[in-house]
Symmetry: C2
Subunit: 680 residues, 2 copies
């Protein structure tokens, strides 16, 4: 033990150090040194957020002999906390209850730091600090005094200023309405939620342990939501459900048409999606075992039409040129009740900004998640749905566009197409010699030529081909020579294989046949995929051209489609430009991840709001060069672009130079639809 009146304390990982009088609580020493230690209860031993680890031993690097008996014994408060919440591990202490009795080395674990890191998925970019816009603070408020008629609110603010150094706080009227009851029920101790360091938005009697936030990705087909603990960043529940608007139209354009034809339809669609959001919130809360009122913040990402409908904005202007958004700003600090979201009655809502009429907050979310704006490498970020949102660039410039791929990649417009569900073919290989296929079906681990396959699929059979299966089968047909670079099924092969059959004036390739059904790839299916992939590739090319680059360093495929396709096949078909295959990866639900980052980090919100303003938007529908790129991209993989890196991994058929007139017609046909509406 030190025989002096003060002792040395060294905090790691910050390395901050200082001498303090014996008896100083560690939390107080940490604050005096500016060491980042969390606390909600203000050092009352209630919240347990200020835990630290005492490191025992002789640390010559820090010049400190640290010993367990250099801290005060556990206080009653600390014992009470452990009794309530579980014993702390050896050496771990509540810093507010541990007083300095001698020199110590104290480690502040990440979980006790206010500004701990939210880990981003890629190692090469900076992590984001946990910095939720709503934080809890416990205070003990002075009781009212007949002789000093300061209101309850004024005394609450005085306590917040004294204990937490807040000044000039604003207060929701709803908090004022609840304040007197909370103060008296909490025996003058209350926990308040403060939004953006500026406004008291909620109050609870006594010590409130936890608050939560939900991040919601509102897609046209599905709505996915995550519930996060706002103090730890941890995802505590996830839930998803179909977007109930589907009953008014499968895709975005048909929903806008519904509104155009049914005045007031926008109100109905707003109502049903909000109802689904409420149900999701309940589901999340119930899964996490918390009250729905513990959710104090909700963040939304969605395409422009979904975002509009959630926020009660009629999306009809997005149904036709010039596709004007009502707003391209983030929606910030809105009361959840304004969108009828039944969470905490004073909760706030944030929505990421939309970028343009076709490039929504979901794309903003993906950009925030993937951070192309931080690096030097040329990143291509693609989210394939009914439209493909494309972002290209790096820290110097960022370009974005939407391309009207249509629903072919999702299995629609394909004769044997279906949604990804048990029974759907998802992987395909075609023997280059015999042209016989083998495949894998969702819900079954074996390939179709493996023993036991039939038995295993007996429950559902083979019912159709999902998006990734369609990409694979057509790419394999190309690699096996069943179709040529123009996508034409080679009728001459009927002699070589029973898999190739006449189908009216064209041909088809039979992938599967059993007593119930025949699943075949028709010439029409191939044309549909060609149109879709040409639209996607042309959009990408347009952005590359505008940027002035002829290559991309990295391709990230967002969304469900990106998660399931084999990227090499996508490249064989020419959906995406040539790139080192190792650098072509799925980004998962990047939009949703971006929403989650925005939920947990105020700084991230300001970051994406600023980045979005810098994004250069291209309107594919009116770009003169789009049509030219589109025609060239109808060929497989492309009429002229070279796929040198792909060729290192895949045996591509030899290139033939020919301009198929049928492609020109198809492109023109496609063009007309694109002009009339890129949302189709």
């Amino acid at each position: 033990m030190s025989h002096q009146d003060d002792a040395l304390v060294v905090f790691t990982p910050s390395g901050r150090r200082g001498r303090f009088p014996l008896g100083t609580p560690l939390l107080e020493a940490a604050r005096a040194l500016g060491v980042d230690i969390d606390s909600v209860c203000g050092g009352r031993g209630l919240c347990g957020r200020c835990q630290v680890d005492l490191c025992e031993g002789s640390f010559t690097k820090h010049g400190v002999e640290s010993s367990a008996n250099h801290l005060s014994l556990k206080s009653d408060t600390e014992w009470a906390w452990e009794k309530r919440r579980g014993a702390l591990r050896e050496g771990r202490r509540l810093s507010c209850s541990s007083q300095l009795l001698g020199d110590v080395l104290i480690d502040v674990p990440a979980s006790s730091q206010v500004h701990r890191q939210i880990v981003r998925k890629r190692a090469e970019v900076l992590d984001i600090e946990l910095d939720p816009i709503v934080r809890l603070y416990f205070v003990q408020v002075q009781q009212p005094d007949l002789h000093v008629p300061a209101s309850d609110l004024r005394r609450l603010k005085a306590a917040l200023e004294y204990e937490w150094h807040f000044s000039e706080l604003k207060t929701d009227i709803r908090v004022v309405q609840q304040l007197q009851d909370a103060l008296r029920r909490g025996d003058w101790g209350v926990t308040v939620a403060i939004h953006d360091d500026r406004r008291i938005i909620a109050v609870w009697p006594g010590f409130q342990e936890r608050i939560f936030g939900m991040a919601v990705d509102v897609g046209s087909t599905t709505i996915a939501a995550h519930l996060c603990n706002l103090q730890t960043g941890e995802v505590v529940a996830s839930a998803g459900r179909m977007n109930p608007q589907i009953r008014y139209g499968e895709d975005l354009m048909s929903r806008v048409s519904y509104i155009m034809m049914n005045p007031g339809g926008e109100t109905v669609m707003t109502r049903v999606v909000r109802e689904a959001l409420c149900e999701l919130a309940s589901e999340l809360a119930s899964e996490a075992g918390v009250a729905v009122e513990a959710i104090i913040e909700a963040v939304f990402v969605g395409n422009p039409i979904m975002q509009s409908l959630v926020f009660g904005i009629n999306p009809v202007e997005l149904g036709g040129a010039p596709f004007a958004l009502a707003t391209d700003e983030a929606i910030d600090g809105l009361w959840a009740t304004e969108i009828d979201l039944a969470i905490h009655p004073n909760a706030r809502v944030y929505a990421l900004p939309c970028i343009a009429g076709h490039v929504g907050a979901d794309t903003a979310g993906a950009i925030l998640s993937e951070t192309p704006y931080l690096g030097e490498e040329m990143m291509l970020l693609v989210d394939v749905g009914t439209n493909a949102e494309i972002v290209l660039g790096n820290r110097h410039r960022l370009l974005a566009a939407s391309s009207p791929t249509g629903p072919a990649f999702e299995g629609a417009q394909i004769s044997c197409g279906q949604r990804a569900a048990p029974g759907a073919i998802e992987r395909v290989r075609i023997d280059r010699q015999t042209l016989e296929p083998r495949y894998k079906v969702i819900g079954c681990e074996r390939w179709s030529d493996e023993p036991g396959f039939e038995a295993e699929i007996a429950g559902h059979g083979v019912t159709g081909v999902c998006g990734s299966g369609i990409i694979e089968v057509i790419a394999e047909m190309f690699l096996a020579g069943v179709i040529n670079a123009e996508g034409v099924i080679q009728g001459s092969l009927t002699e070589r294989s029973p898999r190739v059959e006449a189908d009216g004036r064209t041909f088809r390739y039979v992938l599967h046949r059993d007593g119930n059904r025949t699943l075949a790839i028709t010439q029409g299916d191939i044309r549909a995929i060609q149109l879709a992939k040409a639209a996607l590739y042309a959009g990408i090319r347009l952005l590359m051209e505008h940027y002035g680059t002829d290559h991309v360093d990295r391709i990230r495929l967002a969304g469900a489609f990106g998660a399931h396709i084999d990227v090499s096949y996508a490249m064989v078909l020419g959906l995406i430009p040539d790139c080192d295959l190792e650098h072509v990866t799925s980004a998962g639900n990047a939009a949703g991840t971006g929403g989650r980052i925005a939920l947990l980090s105020r700084k991230a919100r300001r970051e994406i709001e600023a980045v979005v303003r810098r994004v250069e938007k291209l309107e594919t529908a009116t770009e003169p060069r789009f049509q030219e790129h589109f025609v060239a991209a109808m060929a497989i993989p492309h009429r002229s672009d070279v796929f040198a890196r792909l060729a290192e991994h895949v045996d591509l058929p030899p290139r033939v130079a020919r301009d198929a007139p049928s492609q020109g017609r198809a492109a023109r046909r496609r063009r007309r639809r694109v002009d009339s509406s890129p949302l189709t």
Copy 2:
């Protein structure tokens, strides 16, 4: 005409002058010179707010030869405006449509100034500038362009920045929801309402002429409201109605008791008062011939309990010591929908701050109206209701208290008392010799001893005595010697006059008797008034003592009571301290006037918010000296205080020095009630 390329323009009353190229519109010249001329439409000849007067002649003082033909002829726009809105008088022009062709002297009338004056009632204080927190701006917004995907909101803001120099504007989501439709219906011209130069809170297609605000004084008995044109400050409609909460209790304390005994009762009372506010809003709009949606702002004043109930705050804490307010801040910028007020759906609400548990926003309103904080003179501001709110001070210090006068001044607790209504006696004179009374009745111009009185009152008869009548009859009884300084009816007078009768063990004075009824002032009535006036006077005395002053320079009596009583009688009875009678005047509905000032002036809001923070609050219930002052004030006019100035006008009976034991008892009885609740 000038033969130069430019011309001189001189603006009065500012005296600003400058030379401008020929052809410059006057509005543009005024702006360049910083001359205050209003405009909503931005110089498009739509709003007519920029009218100026051309002064013809030779003005040597200004060095200008001003002539009508030195301005351009009326343009088509100007003619169209006159056709629509009525011809302008000779010499008056729209400054936006009048171009400079030679030297001119231009007078800007007050009605065209943005910052014109709101006249306060007293000449000696500064006028307040018209500066409503919500103002209209018309802008022409760029149409959307497929190649520049800026949202409608972004282009609106760009227009507001370009035309009106607003930057960093925030926007209500409700405006975003309405924006696209408004822009298209207005052919890209819209009028927006901007709140506090910071936030767009409403949008209308095309040019919106006018917006209105309502100022509401929510009293426990009546609710009074005024509708003001926010651009001119003019009151365009007034309306009042009973507070429907009366069915739950006549006075404040009985309403709080109702809530204590009926949990949830606060919700009911909030609902009924809000319903009444909606009805008032409709009535005001209908009286002014405008849509209720044209009301974009509402300002509230009320006592703490009424204010709490309007804003959904349970007032039970105000029902007992320590009488803690939920908030003593102004309520600012709240959506009217938060209090279910059906005016413009995006309208905002402002409430003046409450001062203490018994001193409400109505007192803050009265302070704002009467401005004791501006002058050197010692002002006493009294609002008599069931409680009396008392404010004393000047620019150096301001003190406030509430004193529990009870409802006697309003005619309650008085045997023959009634509300001020036709048939009520309101004025009384008693012959010093015969002790015969004469009186005036509400609804009749004649005194009771004048010919034709009987015929004129035949419709309603003489039904009771209202508050001012009670003050007068008791004061006259004192002056005529019917009661002594202790308030005791002199039984010995039964011999001198049939008006004095035995009434059990005490006596009474018969004021009126007819076939239907006898109206008499009993000893109990006099005691009730003594208790009430002693409470009021004691409160005033306490404030004077705390300030350290023995006199007041001016007394302002606010409210209905103050408007109807004869101040000399109030002073004879000793309700108020001695003061030059010419300086004792009614302040009318000062609370409501304060609300109206706050409605029309942002600066006034900031002013009263700051003043209220400086007010020193005294709690009469616990002030040790209150009881002593109370006992001394039971005597008429007072046991010891001298009323020298009053005596110059009124023959006061000679003072007798005696401490009536009965007064001591009464005071102690009163004291107990005061301790348990000053709201009684």
